[in-house]
Structures are given as structure tokens and as C-alpha cells.
Amino acid sequence: MFDATELNQKNERVEKLFRAGFGLMTVMLIIPVLIILTTLVVKGGSVVNFDFLFQSPTNGMTAGGIFPALLGTVWLVLVALLISVPLGVAAAVYLSEYAPENWFTRVINLAIINLAGVPSIVHALFGVGAFVLFFGFGTSILAASLTLAIMTLPLIIVATRESLQAVPYAFREACWNMGATRWQTIRRVVLPNAISGILTGVILEVSRTSGETAPIMFTGAAFFLPLLPQSVFDQTMALSLHLFVVSTQVPDMPEAVPYGVALVLICLVLLMNSLSIALRVYLRGRKKW
């Protein structure tokens, strides 16, 4: 009794094999990240300093800093957020809290999923047609941000809806049974408990938005501008496009500069992502049920 049979031993071997296999796959995921980061730091770390971040490019962009591009990315992301967050959160609240389960809701859900699957270059062309030409915003921050906003809407809707759905249904029922309206329930109970998930979605959107190149190329981002943008109707430089330009379009570019730009961009995105993780951990730690 209690001795391992042949079958037990065989199962044990298979068990070990699979555990090791899956573990290996997981470790391999980290490798590209490590290689990318090390390469960027080694090759580009030397040019990244205070001046690089806060000065304008000079000598046909081969020297000087990247400040207009950095600022432009911040502009684009902020304006895109101002548009997509209210729209996306409102839509998600409607879909999660109000919408009846019928064909219309299913069509909307399908549309959102499809919107998420549209390639970014198609969004770019849509942006040109709709915002640059039809609405007459011209190539501007506004047009580019609107394009980015539309592109990231599904992201924010799905993240918001999921965090709303994660609030236990019993809480809503408890409110309704005391005579609370839908909106009272949403405002006092559902939203406060879903806010961490919504913020996570917002920050993920920020990191996605700040890295996108195609949607802004034709709608508002410029290769090089001598002046900083004065309003949302001006064009702007942007980090992602700047990276593309300095890597491929400028002759005699010192090798370190593109790597430096890439390093700044990836740090920005990583910073946003870790912020989102930290926030989620913090807010999750506060709620108990």
C-alpha cells in the first residue's frame, strides 16, 4: 500500500515535463524585452540627458534634443484622452448598466470588437477623410488626437465595461431594493468600485496612444517644425514619428540618436504601464468583499 505504481511514476514524469516546458516558454517571453532594453540603453543611453529632453533639434535633427516631439506626444495623448475617456466611459456605463440584452446591444458590441480590429493605418486614412478634410480641422493636433481617440475607444470601453461587470451584482440589487435609481446606484456604488479598472484602462490607452505612428502621420504630426504648437489647430512633432524620421529619413544621423529617441519613448510607455499596475494594486488593496 502507498507505494508508487508504474502508472504513478509515468504520470509524475509527464507532469514534470509539462511544467518545465511551460516554464521555459514563460522565460522566453522575457528575452526579447531584455534584449530590446539592453540594446537601447547601451546604444542610446549616452545621448539621453537633460538637454536631449528639453532642447529643440538642431543641424537637420542630427544634434540637439527632442523637446518638441516629447511635448507633441504629451499634447496628442492629452487631447485624445479628453475625447475618448468621457465617450468611452459613458458608452461602457450604458452598455453595462442600462442596455437591455437585445439585437441592438449585440450589434453595438460587435461594432466595438470590429473597431478594435481595424488596422491603425486604416484609422489614419479615416482620420484624414473625416477630421482633416470633412470637418476641416486640417492637419492638426485636434485631427490627430481625434483619430487616436477613435482608435483607442474600444480599449477603454472594454476595460471600463469589464471593471463595471466585476462589481458584484448583489450590490446593485441591494441598492435597487432600497429604491435607488439606476443612476444613484451607478454613482454611489458601481463607479466608485470600478474606478481602479477604469483608470487602468485609461493608462493602458495612454501608453498605446503615445506609441502610435500611423494614425498621426497624415493627420497632425510633422517631420520637423521650427516652432512649438500654439493651439490644437497647429501641427506638432511627435516622439513616435520622430523616431521613424531620424531612423530612416535623415542622412548622416549619428547612430546614438535614434536609439536615444526609442529609449525615451519606451521609458515613457513603461512608466505609464507601471503607473497603471501600481494604481491597480493600490486600489485593489483597499477594497474587500
Binding site: 448583489a170 432600497m178 444613484q184 456604488v189 474587500k288
Partner: protein
């Protein structure tokens, strides 16, 4: 307004269907005001269904159909001119599983009070009085007075259930419905909630559904026995447990089925 019977809850020929399944058959009941009435009966006999239709929770399911009338203090709550929010305010409901909201103890007590509009004009000290009064009524004040801002979900189940009762009180409901309020509690918690029921008796009309016959016997003035969607017997609790009129009642009370 109709007859003016003065009953807390009275129904006439109440029938209820879930889709095509009929759960209540011609229920005619009169629940007297100010006392505790218990509903007993085996699972699926319709007692919870009945309870849930008295503050119109059932209709949220969408496939529920009702005929007949449910009058609460002589007003048909399914009447066209009845405001659902007022029904929910006047008829409070307590559930099997305590369901406090994931906010502070204080905010839980004030929740109903605020959504029904009394909270806006009330000063902080008025609110404090409301909270204290409600928590005292449910015998919880001494245990939680020092941590009113703590999350309600961190309380013990017994305390949570008491809190769920307490949060109904600031809007001064006329009727309290309780759907097996002790089934998630241990014997000590059950005893505490039963004690609380007697405290609330007189101030509110209480209708409690229970699986626990000993509880019905201990904690009610009158008792209703239901079976397969019909009311079999409705008498004083003592009478029902000592000299039940019908054989079904007697068999159920003695545990021959259920």
C-alpha cells in the same frame, strides 16, 4: 384606496407565473400590522416568491406575470399610479445573505436616507443622530460606534445582517420583509437577530420567511403555512404548532416532509 381594512399586507386572488410555471395560486392573505408574521413551508412552496412580490423585486426578472392584488396598508402596490421607489421605501427587504454595500458602516445606514432625499438638507449632526438611532434599534451601536467609517463588508455576518436591517430604518418603512434572514448565521447570530425582531415588533409590521420551524415558533405572533403555491393555514403561531388544523401542516411541522 379601497376597503380600509387596516391590514399591513392583504392580497386578493394573487396568482403569479414565472413564464409558464405558476408559482402562486389564488393567495388570499391578511398580515396584521405591528406584529411578526412568519411564513413556513418546504422549498419551492412560493413563500420567497410571495415575499419578493410585496416590494416588487420579482418584476425585474422580466418574465413574471401577476394577477390579483397586493395591498400594503390598503393601497394596491401594482396600481398604475404607484411609484415604485415609494414601494421600495415603505417596504424594506432583508435577504438571506447579508448584502451590505462596500462603503462605510455610516454610509450604509445613510444610503436609503440620502437617496430618498432626506440626507441633502440634514446637517452632519442630524445625520449622526440618524445613524445612531438606526444602529441602536438593531442593537449594533455599542459594537460599531467607534468604527463607523470602517468598511461594512469587514463586519461579521451577524453584524452585517443587523446593519442591513438598520439601513432600512431611517426612511421609516411601514413593512419589513425578511427572506430567511438567519440562514447564513450561526446559532448565536440567529439568536441575536431574533432578539432584534422582538425589539422591532410594534414599530414595524414584519413578515419573515423561514425554513427553520423552531425559529418560526420562537419568533413570530402568527404563522402562515404554504404548500405548492397555496396558503394552507394561517393562525396564531402557538395554535399552529400545538393544534394544527390541517394534516399537511401537522406533517410538515413534525418533519415528515420538507
Amino acid at each position: 384606496m379601497d376597503s380600509g381594512s387596516g391590514m399591513a399586507i392583504s392580497t386578493t386572488d394573487l396568482n403569479l407565473w414565472y413564464g409558464t410555471f405558476q408559482a402562486l395560486f389564488d393567495v388570499n392573505l391578511e398580515v396584521k400590522p405591528g406584529i411578526i408574521t412568519a411564513m413556513i413551508g418546504p422549498s419551492g412552496c412560493g413563500k420567497s416568491t410571495f415575499l419578493r412580490s410585496v416590494n416588487r423585486i420579482n418584476e425585474r426578472l422580466g418574465y413574471v406575470r401577476i394577477t390579483g392584488e397586493i395591498n400594503v396598508y390598503d393601497r394596491n402596490i401594482y396600481g398604475e399610479d404607484v411609484e415604485l421607489v415609494q414601494v421600495r421605501k415603505q417596504v424594506g427587504m432583508v435577504f438571506q445573505r447579508p448584502n451590505p454595500l462596500p462603503i462605510s458602516i455610516r454610509d450604509n445606514v445613510l444610503f436609503g436616507y440620502q437617496i430618498h432625499g432626506q440626507g441633502k438638507t440634514a446637517s452632519k449632526s442630524d445625520q449622526d443622530d440618524v445613524v445612531e438611532d438606526a444602529l441602536r434599534q438593531v442593537l449594533l451601536w455599542d459594537q460599531v460606534k467607534d468604527r463607523l467609517n470602517a468598511k461594512a463588508t469587514g463586519l461579521s455576518l451577524e453584524q452585517q445582517q443587523k446593519l442591513c436591517i438598520a439601513r432600512l430604518l431611517p426612511v421609516k418603512p411601514r413593512v419589513l420583509l425578511m427572506d430567511e434572514p438567519c440562514s447564513a448565521l450561526d446559532p448565536k447570530g440567529t439568536e441575536a437577530v431574533e432578539e432584534l425582531l422582538w425589539e422591532l415588533r410594534g414599530k414595524y409590521s414584519i413578515l419573515i420567511v423561514t425554513h427553520n420551524m423552531a425559529q418560526a415558533r420562537r419568533a413570530s405572533d402568527e404563522c402562515i403555512f404554504m404548500l405548492l403555491g397555496k396558503v394552507v393555514e394561517h393562525t396564531e403561531t402557538e395554535t399552529m404548532f400545538v393544534t394544527p388544523k390541517f394534516e399537511e401542516t401537522e406533517n410538515y411541522i413534525e418533519g415528515r416532509y420538507g
